[in-house]
Symmetry: C2
Amino acid sequence: MERHARRIARVQARLAALDVHALVVAPGADLTYLTGYDALALERPTLLIVRADGPATIVAPLLERARVQGEVLLDDLAVVTYGEHDDALVLAADRIGGAPGSVVALGDTMWTSFTLGIQRALPDHRWAVASDIIGPERVVKDAEELVRLRAVAAAIDAVHRRVPEVLRAGRTEQAVAADLATMIRDGHDEVSFVIVASGPNAASPHHEPGPRTIEEGDVVVVDIGGVLDGYCSDMTRMYAVGHAPPEFLAPYAVLERAQAAAVAAVRPGATAGEVDAAARDVLAEAGLGDAFVHRTGHGIGTQTHEEPWILGGSTVALVPGMAFSVEPGFYLDGRFGARIEDIVVVTEEGVEVLNVVPRDLVVVR
Amino acid sequence: MERHARRIARVQARLAALDVHALVVAPGADLTYLTGYDALALERPTLLIVRADGPATIVAPLLERARVQGEVLLDDLAVVTYGEHDDALVLAADRIGGAPGSVVALGDTMWTSFTLGIQRALPDHRWAVASDIIGPERVVKDAEELVRLRAVAAAIDAVHRRVPEVLRAGRTEQAVAADLATMIRDGHDEVSFVIVASGPNAASPHHEPGPRTIEEGDVVVVDIGGVLDGYCSDMTRMYAVGHAPPEFLAPYAVLERAQAAAVAAVRPGATAGEVDAAARDVLAEAGLGDAFVHRTGHGIGTQTHEEPWILGGSTVALVPGMAFSVEPGFYLDGRFGARIEDIVVVTEEGVEVLNVVPRDLVVVR
């Protein structure tokens, strides 16, 4: 309880410092972070309103009153419930209040139907994204959050160790993905995503597992994640079925070096851009710069993707407690692709790598 | 392919008729409905832009280009991809275009961060919710959609038949819910939700299964749903463990009559409000009006909750092809609660009830 009250207090301090009148968040990671409440994301809005100048308010449907009372971990909270014929967004606007021109920060993932209703009720307010306020709080994980991130990282490590049990020639990507989902479920509360991208499909970073039959000589990207105790895993390893194409081995060795270089660049005071550059430079020197089509990583916590973004040119300075993926890759259309991904945490001394399964290409069968 | 092109054409006709310049939707049910593409809902926007006056455009991250090409089922589509350093929302605004004052309809569930970015780039446009445009299209299911709704209804019927295998005194709600999730997964592609609300918890309509141990003499609400082939199930039946409290039986008999009355009121030309009243009147006559704290139902399709809303006073006229839940209930704080829920479809002749498991109280063990 203490913990969530402290988070609300920090948000209020930040609102005051930035002259933002209020923060409004809907069900999802922000609401859970601030109140402990994992509310239903449905058409009846549940909205947490935090004003710089008073106690927090939650606006929730009458039929979910018992859930709010049972699950919200804040003592100092006003609860406003509404019935099926009330306009919840007008009620919320009333609780937001503030003079015309006031700035209100709205949850990044909040539904647009809620935002448009609030904007209609407060036509002269101005609007910002909630991540400007709550992002800098969520980005630094406390000791309890790090315990959970380590646990969920261990859970996904265990799944990667078992990939050779199910990945083999003659099976479809979809069949392998279904088996991996079952394995993820064993050690997590839920499955977030499963990418099994084989042969030429490995050149598509966000490939959806499909009907393609995996063949001898394929390289396969396995990028998987789940949620355990509210925190997310996300981990990629590379597999070859029987053997890899000979021309894959040299770029893969470069990728291993690139990923290791980016991990080694992680320390307090380094910028996100420097971590990205550490990987990108190694790939570019080997002529693979154009084949590395995405940023080096993303923060992780209660969402699989959150701040900080490990993006070229970013001047965001790393501080202890930040957790993010380091996942360079290369993608060669029509041929193959590869990615290696670990979750790392910035420590006082440098870096803690949460995923420990070796990064070598794993040859199955 | 034809099918999605026809849907786009109908949306364009509606945009023109309502003098709305463009529709913008993000990953989710609207995007899938219009393009077939089940895109990733992440921080890199994927946006479908349909203007009244030209071909549709999809704005998507460069690293998902292969997915767009492989999964979008529209021939006449402009694809605009962006890299990690581009402002996707400025790109989208450019494609939306239109004179100042133009009305743009934005996806109801689209992330607010996308909406605020588009609003910033088009400061003199006006904004509406996409459901004003696409709702009246999605609300009427075609023959192929009805086939899928029947299939997923049969899948959840099968789970309710198996509830007596896992629901018994001495087990926690959470344990029963976990077993039901496994059963749902057997016949669906994914689990949407599982409500197991026992004893006094049954008085909370959206109760989250918790550590409470189920006892002899409890009544238990089991409200479960999943997704099969893109379409949703949602079905509630009532169970008693060993026996029900004697004082539960009379109100439950009223509820059975109320639910049957609402189902019987479903026919083309009736209003949603009349269906709600049919159930509510029966409960009110028995003194249970105040205990029925929610609307009678919600539409269902690719989302568990969508239009039409079966709400008191609604003048929305039912037309053949509409699919929705009929789920009256009563909730008595500290004592017990009950709900009976079927999915029904409006037919030319009246109503087709998709769930066939009997609605009687099921006594387990």
